[in-house]
Symmetry: C2
Subunit: 138 residues, 2 copies
DNA sequence: TAGTGTATGCAATGGAAGTGCATTAATTTG
DNA sequence: CAAATTAATGCACTTCCATTGCATACACTA
């Protein structure tokens, strides 16, 4: 529990009850989660609060936003010391068409991308869709 | 004009007036366009018809859908003989934060991606965000 | 020409993201 | 410690886009 507080404080986020709970929830999830996922879990809480909690996490580089192409924004905790830098931190995301889960393949960093002259890259999003290992083995 | 018809017929799409016009519009655009873009251009036409026209184009592999992370679906014509295959056809998309335009970098195919064991890739989406060459030179 | 299938237009729905404002909690300051 | 300021939460509401249902119009075929 105290660890959770440390994580928040380290990123300059005040450890409110709600934030601790959401952080815990995120930590327990292996795959990326949507606002609705969080909402369904914390039935008593207000959607807006959860929305803003996630937003806060993203802004303080505790979590990152994932656009997996489903149209529903997903969130996942960043790795330790992540600053969402293109070269070092960004990894690819995998969306499984069967189980509908989106996961971070943190070991698979975004390959180096060469752009045409005068283009400046500030952010890269790489999503692979298909069938994940779990669904494939069934 | 006749060429437009040929394009449609080649992909088994009946060349209605609306479709010819939308196809023309797409041909003239260098960057990807949204449904709203088309709607704004063809003021007299109904949004649904345009929506379905684009949908038809995508289904018949005449155009591809682009999720550039803005939350607004974009469309762009496929290249000649494109079948949206991962290895050969998929290219990266660039979204400029300044001019807000999304463009196909068709010369930049998606780099080969190695996935963990038992993962099957069926589709890949690679979007780079930043500043495009036009905006960068101003 | 009648009939069938496809395309179009209108209306309405649904889902998600986001905002404004009032209320409550927490923190700072006199 | 109390007052005052700031931040977090909860509720209501708005906006925007994607999508669907159904009725009408058009086009092609027998």
């Amino acid at each position: 529990m105290i660890e959770l507080e440390q994580i928040l404080k380290k990123n300059n986020v005040k450890p409110t009850a709600m934030r601790l709970l959401v952080l815990q929830f995120l930590l327990n999830k292996k795959s990326a989660i949507s606002l609705t996922d969080v909402e369904d879990y914390f039935v008593k809480s207000d959607r807006t609060t959860l929305y803003r909690t996630l937003k806060t996490f993203v802004e303080s580089e505790l979590a990152h936003k994932i656009d997996d192409g489903t149209g529903i924004t997903k969130y996942a905790l960043c790795e330790e010391n992540c600053h969402c830098e293109i070269e070092t931190d960004l990894h690819l995301h995998f969306h499984c068409k069967l189980c509908n889960e989106t996961s971070c393949l943190t070991d698979h960093k975004i390959p180096n991308i060469s752009l045409p002259k005068n283009f400046i890259a500030e952010d890269v999003n790489l999503v692979v869709k298909g069938i994940c290992n779990k669904c494939n083995s069934n």
